[in-house]
Amino acid sequence: MKSLKGRRIIFILIIILVLSMVFSLGIGGGRFQISDLLSFLRPQSLSPSEKTIFFEIRLPRLILSVLVGAALSLSGAVLQGLFQNPLVDPYVLGISSGGAVGAIVAILSGISLGFITLPLFSFLFALATTFLVLRLGQIGHKMPLEIMLLAGVAIGFFFSALISLGMFLAGENLHQMVFWIMGGFWNSSWNKIYTLLPFFLIGFPLIFSYSRELNTFLLGEKVAESMGVEVEKTKKILLIVTSLLVAASVSVSGVIGFVGLVVPHIIRIIIGEDHRQLLPASLFLGSSVLLWADIFSRTLLHPVELPVGVLTSLMGAPFFIYLLRRKKKGW
């Protein structure tokens, strides 16, 4: 039975995620050191700087990359299911552009509210963009999704222009903007995790509870509605929840592409379209993918750190092509 296969795959993905997380604790100095891992288990024996390394740098970093990977893949899967469009990614409503403009405004204005400045501006602008798109895409009480997509594209273009303008005006702050936009986990901290946590703790279960609704969307909105699904309400709730998740993710780690688009497709090829398995599987695979991308970003050119977004695209694309070809040959 297909759902059995699905559950088995999810189980495997969870195991992979846990192992990866443990493994990443031992990554330091550009490579894996088992001694690091073992000493982590005996925190009393650590020097203060080593303690800081583990608990203030490595641990928050791995947790953050896991959470963001989960949020992006889950949101991508949900949006693809809502829009019934395989090209949709978490940034389709212009969230990434909005977030980037927020960060740029924060940088250019020089306003400083402490370290929360950039994430806060980014989050607010990302949310504002989303609500703008949702309003534009609404006709009466309905949310025709094709209109929404177009609104997202239009707003995205507009904000991209603003981003270019911002970069032009940036002067010596240019590299800061560029790096923020490229996305990365270099400044992971417990504060960032605490800010994200409420969104995730509420958002994830809420989204899962709509798995069956998303399945009905596969049959078409009309059929879904005739089966008792409150289509417009479902759209609104899912759009808002995913937007919050994505805006929060973008505000703490920049624009990390590809994960939200490709991971759900990979899962679809392996497991299928049943959202009851697709959603959790995407979440776990996305976490692992981003975690590994971050591991590579830290180790490939050590001690130089690469931007994670570059790595996710480099890793994801060839693998996805490989899977597509396997599917075409009929697996």
Binding site: G28, G29, G30, S47, P48, S49, K51, T52, I53, E56, I57, R58, G110, S112, G114, F115, L118, E172, H175, Q176, F179, W180, G184, W186, N187, S189, R298, H302, P303, V304, E305, L306
Partner: protein, 308 residues
């Protein structure tokens, strides 16, 4: 013809001839792009396309000959009164043409297309691109030659070389293990530092310190963990002029809980560095070096006066 007349005519000829000889000696130098510029006479209308170049011109006493500078040229303060031809990357070509310069000093920051365009317009462009103190000194010499002020030039160069030698000799006499580990931070999100091949690296090394990021090439990010692992005893923080009320970067370095275990933070050895001081290839590189020397080895060079 009488002998007197012959001597008179000869003297006049010799006088005229020798005067023309001394003025027809070409002023020539080869710039960083391999282009050799030949000027038939010393320039009277000089345009500078970078703040560092402006400082060089002023230091060589050529201030009166400057007809155009960038909006970033603020040192010395007289530079602020000069005509502006744009900023470092966006240059108003029309303005330059109207100013009719006979020497233009470009830098590594000037966009390539602009330099090419200037060449195409047959303007006398000379590009200065230095990455070490030695190269800066060479550039100053070249500019002096081109401008016909070799004497001022060699005086300035000698002063710089003497001060350089003094610092370097003292610093090199220090055994390696007594050279403090210095971490220079340019930004925190992501952590951005200066590795091998940068001026900062040279300042630190010549001043008798060790650059934490010496194994990285150029300006780059660095793994946060490495900072903790390598544990610098001094951290230098870039300060941007008038950007924030409180220097955000300085706040980060001194208050972030992850850096609390680092020696430099524990011992209050975090110093602000004026970004203009360390990022302009010009006569002030020596001042920058001195500043670093005072930070790194106050026991030799005296207490650093500027501290936050």
């Amino acid at each position: 013809m009488s002998k007197f007349k012959i001597i008179a005519i000869l003297s006049i000829l010799i006088f005229v001839f020798s005067s023309t000889i001394s003025y027809s000696q070409p002023l020539s130098a080869t710039d960083a792009t391999g282009f050799t510029l030949n000027l038939s006479q010393p320039p009277n209308r000089i345009i500078s396309l970078a703040p560092g170049n402006t400082e060089i011109l002023f230091a060589l006493g050529l201030n009166d000959k400057i007809v155009g500078v960038t909006t970033y040229c603020d040192e010395p303060t007289e530079a602020l009164e000069k005509e502006k031809i744009g900023n470092v990357t966006e240059i108003d070509l029309e303005k330059i043409l109207t100013l009719q310069p006979d020497l233009i000093l470009a830098s590594s920051l000037t966009p390539e297309e602009t330099v090419v365009r200037l060449h195409e317009l047959n303007l006398p462009v000379f590009t200065l691109k230095s990455e070490t103190i030695e190269q800066v000194i060479e550039d100053i010499t070249k500019v002096a030659v081109l401008s016909g002020v070799e004497i001022s030039g060699s005086k300035l160069v000698k002063t710089m070389k003497d001060q350089l030698k003094k610092i370097n000799d003292f610093a090199q006499s220090i055994p390696d293990h007594q050279k403090p580990l210095v971490f220079h931070i340019i930004w925190h999100d992501p952590i951005w530092t200066a590795g091998n091949g940068t001026f900062i690296n040279e300042f630190i090394t010549l001043a008798g310190g060790k650059n934490l990021a010496v194994d990285i090439q150029g300006y780059s990010t660095i793994d946060f963990e490495e900072i903790l692992k390598r544990n610098p005893s001094i951290i230098t923080v870039i300060e941007n002029h008038g950007k924030n009320e409180e220097n955000q970067l300085y706040q980060f370095v001194t208050t972030d809980n992850r850096l609390q275990t680092v020696d430099a933070v524990k011992n209050d050895q975090v110093y602000l560095i004026d970004s203009n001081l360390v990022s302009r290839p010009g006569p002030r590189v020596i001042s920058a070096l001195q500043y670093f020397a005072q930070i790194i080895h106050p026991e030799i060079f005296g207490e650093c006066k500027i501290q936050e």
